[in-house]
Amino acid sequence: MNNYTCIVFFVLLVTTTKALSAEAEPATNRSLYLNPTVIDSRNGTGSTVGVEYKFKGYLLSRDFESQDNELDPNAIIGSTVIGYSGSGTVAASKDRNPKNFLEFMLDAKLKYSAPAAGTITGGLFSKYETNQSFSDKQFVYGLGATYGKYAAFGSNDFIAVDVAYGRVNPKDDSERKAALGGATLDSYYRLNLEFLIMYPLQTDNVSSVEFNFRYFVENNAPAAIRIAGLDKHQLGTILLNLKNDLYVAYSAGKLPFDRKNDQIFQIGYSYKFN
């Protein structure tokens, strides 16, 4: 049944891709973003240096907007996109990585944007999740949507919510295996939620404040998984952007594949690799 569901999902994804490719222009937009960082974990095994990475690109993109004569900033924007992306943190010492959760995703989605309503995207996704050593890994597929609005409260703030509901097919998950006492790893449904708010500040030292919260909850988790505390994962981060490209951040909680609940302190700066 699980394999059947996987096949149906990929047929849907491939069908969507082929339908779009008939008239779509090949997209050239790709980006890679790397941030060196120092991570200090209160409950972990000490500090380590690492790199936060993210990349994204479009395989296909098709716009639906109508022609207009004048430049109109209030124009409605609509499109369908097939894209790929990845993100995570890789530490010099993988055993000291408190954000040990790497993601690689392929998705097909619709996008709609209007000046008063904000911007929303949604559609099918498939995702590969693993830890840095690739010892724990799982495949996830399902439906997702993201909504965001600039200047929601003031002139230059931003708020966003990202929600996904999908089937998780665990390939290797040492903690889950241990909790289930060696039983086979069955697929399960999971809800993900991510919330972001950014607010500008007019102070001499701090230019803006950010709060990010990620939440994962398993639907109808077995008792053994609930008792082991593996049915829910959450991570909250508050960050102050300082002058001179510096930032300080504090995180509490854990993501899937993280070893334990933790409190993480980060200080970093932005740097470009050419």
């Binding site: 980006s31 907007e65 993100s87 944007s113 909504y147 965001g148 966003a160």
Partner: protein, 128 residues
């Protein structure tokens, strides 16, 4: 090795000045202070160092939504400052905003890159 790719020239034309003004001004996007980043040095500033770019998430869906929202706001402010029109009348307003959004979504792009895409898509009074 010499860089053979010609780079867009950052100068006091309408496209560069408008890009700088909309990003900097307190009553527009207020992404930096002119005392910290004067016009002459703004071209090399990476967009990830501006206030709109998030540091607490690497979620590409959120960054994509954010970039489209701020690109629309950017164009809204542009039309307040200058009497502008499309470079190519066949291009839709939505396509122009989307092109600008793609630059905003890439934190490694610079303010010069933003001015270049603005100049390529929008006709200013000094280009008539």
């Amino acid at each position: 090795m010499a860089n053979t790719k010609s780079q867009y020239e950052w100068k006091e034309n309408n496209a560069c000045v408008a890009t700088y003004k909309v990003l900097e001004a307190d009553n527009f996007l207020d992404q930096f202070e002119d005392a910290d980043i004067p016009f002459a040095k703004a071209h090399s500033v990476k967009l990830k160092n501006l206030r709109y770019f998030p540091q607490t998430t690497t979620n590409p869906q959120i960054i994509e939504v954010l970039s489209l929202e701020i690109a629309r706001k950017f164009v809204t402010h542009l039309v307040k400052v200058f009497t502008i029109s499309k470079q190519n009348s066949a291009a839709t307003s939505a396509a122009i905003i989307t092109s600008i959004a793609k630059v905003f979504a890439d934190g490694e792009k610079t303010i010069r890159d933003l001015a270049e895409i603005v100049d390529a898509n929008i006709k200013f009074p000094d280009e008539n």
